[in-house]
């Protein structure tokens, strides 16, 4: 590069350099959000981490279930109810934190750096940015977590089968639970994004998310026992547990009420986030 290009009269594009009739479209914003997602190292790392953690932890939980089973059997416990296949899917407990953080960062990363002003200057109607982020994030997280849960499930069964504890994919509820985990993790990530739009600060949104999925169930146990059945099943993590299990807890919500419950959480929080985005200055 010569000094000339720096200080000389700048070259301007010929007026015909850009095709006529350009406009902002939802499809364009979607492609932009896709590029924005993959061009950050933090998203790449989160996705890789989610894959490794899902498969690795499912195997680890399978191994732990087997050794637990051995110990109980040695003590002569009655084990007809022992169902290890669900235990071997519990990686999602931890992966929900990875996905939740990613969901928060997709939004608060833009507020923290000032990028949001560029995003909203390009798409000043604002809602296309929200939908773009939602679709990109939901597709990526659902595909990645569902496939890795499938692989985790398949990898865990040989470990469980060392004690004949494994089940096959054709076992009732197995495929439903695997897809359910992908669905639940997607919803948790999107709840993270919704909190991001609402709160705008990474630390605050993360605190709210972790409070909701980790601390609220524990605090709920402190409620009077007559209240608990009316509140606890409807927390996103408890409803999610029903969706994510091959053999759900019979005292908890049934599948579709559980799906409805997490969707209501998601829709309500997102409605709040969108309201804040439309109303408040960027």
């Amino acid at each position: 590069m010569t000094t000339d290009t720096m200080t000389g009269p700048p070259r301007q594009a010929q007026p015909d350099a850009l095709p006529p009739g350009l406009k902002v479209t939802q499809w364009g914003v979607l492609r932009s959000e896709w590029l924005k997602f993959w061009s950050l190292r933090s998203s790449q790392i989160s996705v890789v981490l989610a894959v490794i953690a899902t498969i690795g932890l499912d195997c680890l939980f399978a191994w732990a279930a087997v050794s637990n089973y051995e110990r109980l059997k040695a003590r002569g416990a009655k084990l007809s109810d022992f169902f290890a296949a669900d235990t071997a899917l519990h990686a999602y407990f931890l992966v929900q934190l990875v996905v939740g953080v990613l969901g928060v960062l997709v939004v608060t990363g833009e507020y923290g750096t000032g990028m949001i002003r560029s995003s909203l200057a390009a798409a000043p109607k604002r809602l296309p940015v929200v939908w773009g982020k939602v679709i990109v994030f939901a597709v990526i997280v659902f595909v990645v977590t569902t496939i890795s849960t499938f692989i985790g499930f398949l990898a865990a069964q040989p470990i469980l089968n060392s004690d004949s504890l494994g089940v096959s994919l054709s076992y009732p509820g197995a495929v439903r639970a695997i897809i359910g985990i992908g669905f639940y993790l997607t919803v948790i990530g999107l709840i993270g994004s919704a909190l991001g739009w609402l709160i705008r600060h990474t630390a605050g949104a993360l605190a709210a998310l972790f409070g909701l999925i980790l601390i609220a169930p524990g605090l709920g146990e402190l409620l009077p026992t007559t209240w608990q059945p009316h509140i606890l099943p409807y927390l996103p993590s408890n409803a999610g547990g029903q969706i994510a299990s091959i053999q759900p807890d019979p005292t908890g919500l049934a599948l579709w009420p559980a799906v409805l419950t997490v969707c209501v959480w998601l829709v309500v929080l997102f409605a709040g986030g969108i309201l804040v985005l439309k109303r408040r200055d960027a």
């Binding site: 590069m1 007026p15 350099a17 095709p19 902002v24």
Partner: protein
């Protein structure tokens, strides 16, 4: 063309922008001048629809910014605080902006060359110096080849070479018939770049005029007089239109009388003069004086309320 009508933005009781009306015309560089905190950045965010006005209205090319079907084609903006994700490369940042509006990759590469970032385009924007960050902001502003450019403090952090580059760029963009609206808190920089000035202080419009007229309007023309008979001369000169200040012992600064008039008064009264010099305020002084008024006005009001 940018048109603001009675534009007002309040944060609580404080008005950041207070009932401002102006028009920024195409074909010239219009400087937007005011001290820090005068409301320049707020006004620019209002133009882009990032903030909503409390009352009043601002349009670009006849429409609110958000109503344009391709805002990046209409208005290119460089905002003062960096509006770039630090973890993304310059190329990906520009590409992401371009995709929203369907601007082709060739244009992204073109603006990267235009601002001289081709060697670092693949590096994370967070590793950029202030000057490189400003160049990236300019590249983003030019991306849609817009008819209107809004740049908030574009020379901030640039070295002299970069400042010269910005100055030439802005002038050539205006010469192409574009509307160029540039903010700065440096009067001297604006006097070299802009032809027209919009001056604000404490959120209020102070002037909307050509650079030349602004200097005339703002310049308090004074005459410096050195005389051993300072006290007597002062008494003879002071009047309703005339103010005399004592700079130091034996040195007066007189405004409201020309040097010829002062010389005649001294001669008529047989007062010896050692120096008689017309002084013209520099641009920076002119600007400071005008914006100082806005500050003083506010202080007076507070004192009155107390």
């Amino acid at each position: 063309m940018i048109e603001a009508r009675a534009l007002t933005k309040r944060y609580g009781p404080k008005a950041a922008v207070d009932d401002i009306s102006f028009t920024v015309k195409p074909g010239v560089v219009t400087g937007f001048l005011g001290p820090n905190g005068a409301g320049k950045s707020t006004t620019m965010r209002l133009i882009l629809g990032l903030d909503a006005p409390t009352s009043g209205d601002v349009t670009v090319n006849g429409k609110h910014y958000a109503q344009h079907s391709a805002p990046l084609r209409e208005v290119g903006a460089l905002l003062e605080a960096r509006a770039v994700h630090t973890g993304r490369s310059a190329y990906h940042h520009l590409m992401a902006q371009a995709l929203t509006t369907g601007i082709p990759r060739s244009r992204v590469e073109e603006v990267i060359h235009l601002v001289g970032l081709q060697d670092v385009a693949r590096k994370r924007a967070g590793s950029f110096s202030l000057g490189m960050g400003q160049r990236l902001g300019v590249a983003a502003a030019l991306l849609g080849d817009p008819a209107t450019l809004i740049l908030d403090e574009p020379v901030n952090g640039l070295d002299p070479e970069g400042i010269l580059w910005i100055r030439n760029l802005l002038r050539s963009l205006a010469a192409e018939g574009r509307t160029v609206f540039v903010s700065s808190h440096l009067m001297s920089e604006m006097s070299l770049t802009a032809e027209h000035l919009i001056v604000i202080g404490k959120g209020k419009l102070i002037a909307d005029t050509s650079v030349a007229d602004f200097i005339n309007m703002a310049s308090h023309k004074a005459v410096r007089v050195r005389t051993p008979e300072a006290t007597r001369l002062r008494e003879l000169l002071v009047g309703p239109e005339v103010s005399v200040t004592s700079v130091e012992h034996g040195l007066l600064e007189v405004s409201g009388r020309s040097s010829a008039e002062i010389g005649r008064v001294a001669c008529d009264n047989s007062l010896p003069l050692e120096e008689l010099t017309p002084v013209q305020a520099s641009l920076e002084e002119a600007f400071m004086e005008l914006t100082q008024d806005a500050v003083e006005y506010r202080t007076d009001k507070l004192a009155g309320a107390a």
